[in-house]
Symmetry: C2
Subunit: 308 residues, 2 copies
């Protein structure tokens, strides 16, 4: 299976079919809420990728404008996140297990020694720029080695992860990579990003156990939404939430010189996109919208506790 | 020998004693200038470390406000420099062969596979933060492996180096490391940063051949100069230039959010320092000062031609 664009990968994540598990109670009930509660994780991606992203995301976490975030361990600003985690032990940080290096003029390699994970590298010695070539070339055993190393590095730096996911969906791109992802999550007893939306792809189902937590839906704004439609997209998304648990993925940052250069020639999750997401989630209107729609904000750490 | 601070290392570089070589002509004469010319390389350090540094340095190179610059190959913005080099084939770029990762919350590792250069890494898997511990711990053969890999990476990306030097002077910190530095420079037929100032340290002299180009002096502003003394320091430095060849090392950048975060808690070559250096070298007053003092601006590429 080849997935060449982030959009295709996201679509795949959203379409992962998961059968109803034999849990007798809903996640809402297990967390102590009424069974028909609308639970929402508002999740900021890509911590450690750039200072601009860190600054906006820390601010949004501090304001409870997002409930959770995930960290890219191979990226250069990891120690900035470690310093934040040290000063904010309750921050709900997971790991954005990173097997790609997607930007044009700003790149990174693996955390593991390159000799041990050669299939993860493009010809320039960085991680593959896109999930398509990454998924085609990466050997699952080397992906496993690298993501275990990323988790151990985060633990060593004082960032105990509350959950696991994967930027650009690379670890959801083939059954072999998804197998590695689930296996490692199980080993570390961590919840991970998986959502139940009816679909044909039954292969992946066998990998999940009854104990695994599966989200009811995942929401992320797409490239077809124009800047002037931003507020309406999120307002509609909140009004449309169904009972159950949803993750809303946002990409935060400031539209400044650093992030403009990082996201050069990438309209998706560009610096302007991230500024719009930041402005939106930190706005009083968004807070009011959540209240008016009786949304219950939850964290991955809450879900992690259900696994114990 | 232990050198713990950048200042100590710089002082060491400046004090490297080199005997008079048996060249019958001065460098100025060999370059076609009168023998008593005051030749000056104005050199921007640290390209690829941050977008802010790249943007300011590219601008200064474009304006001929600096003649030369050097690139840190392990840093995340290397491809930004490669793109610039592709569009500016005449830009005088050398390599700032990097064995340290000096900033607090923004770090990088080696280019070589970590397994092959374990002595280059601190406990967190990045390059050593300071030249003192770096010089104490790094095995010369691993330093050689890494700097050869950095040169090969630069060549592969279309950045043919015009010269070699070393950030924080790590490669000048012990005779063993300096030996590696000179050996690699000789192998690639590249000029490198070495300056003749009378001193006791005779050990290093034997490493240089008669063919090597040795600068008469190196000038860099120090931490004791207050912001209000910036202009006067540079004016005095230009007025004091003697006949011969001098490198003036400057650190360029913009005092913006990215560079403030990169240089957190480092007063030396901070973002404000780099903004002052940028403002100074690009000012009309500085250009006038160079003209009034009959300074001849030269490049490392000019010196490189003398080695052929």
């Amino acid at each position: 299976m080849r997935l060449r664009t982030p959009a295709a990968v996201i679509a795949f994540v959203l379409s992962m079919a998961v059968t109803r598990h034999a849990q007798t109670k809903t996640i809402a009930e297990r967390l102590g809420y009424p069974p028909d509660s609308k639970l929402l994780i508002i999740h900021a991606d890509d911590l450690a990728v750039a200072h601009s992203v860190d600054a906006a995301s820390f601010d949004a976490l501090d304001k409870n404008a997002v409930t959770s975030a995930s960290v890219m361990v191979p990226c250069p600003w990891l120690n900035e996140v470690a310093a934040y985690a040290k000063n904010h032990p309750d921050a709900d940080l997971g790991l954005h297990l990173t097997l790609t290096s997607e930007w044009e003029v700003y790149r990174w390699g693996p955390v593991e020694s390159k000799d041990k994970v050669p299939s993860l590298l493009d010809s320039s010695g960085y991680l593959w720029p896109q999930p398509g070539p990454a998924a085609q070339n990466i050997k699952p055993e080397e992906a496993e080695r690298e993501i275990r190393t990323q988790i151990e590095r985060a633990l060593a730096l004082g960032i105990p992860p509350a959950h696991l996911d994967s930027p650009q969906g690379t670890l959801f791109a083939t059954p072999e990579l998804f197998t590695v992802f689930v296996k490692v999550a199980h080993d570390y007893k961590l919840p991970f990003l998986a959502a139940k939306v009816s679909d044909e792809r039954k292969k992946l189902l066998a990998l999940l156990t009854e104990k695994d937590i599966v989200l009811d839906s995942v929401v992320m704004i797409g490239r077809t939404v124009r800047p002037e439609g931003w507020k309406e997209f999120y307002a509609q998304a909140i009004r449309d939430l169904k009972p159950g648990i949803t993750e809303m993925i946002v990409h935060l940052g400031h539209d400044d010189a650093e992030l403009q250069a990082v996201t050069l020639d990438h309209p998706i999750t560009s610096s302007a996109w991230r500024q719009r997401d930041y402005d939106l989630v930190t706005s009083p209107e968004f807070k009011k919208l959540l209240e008016e729609n009786h949304i219950v904000l939850v964290k991955w750490r809450d879900l992690q506790k259900l696994l114990k």
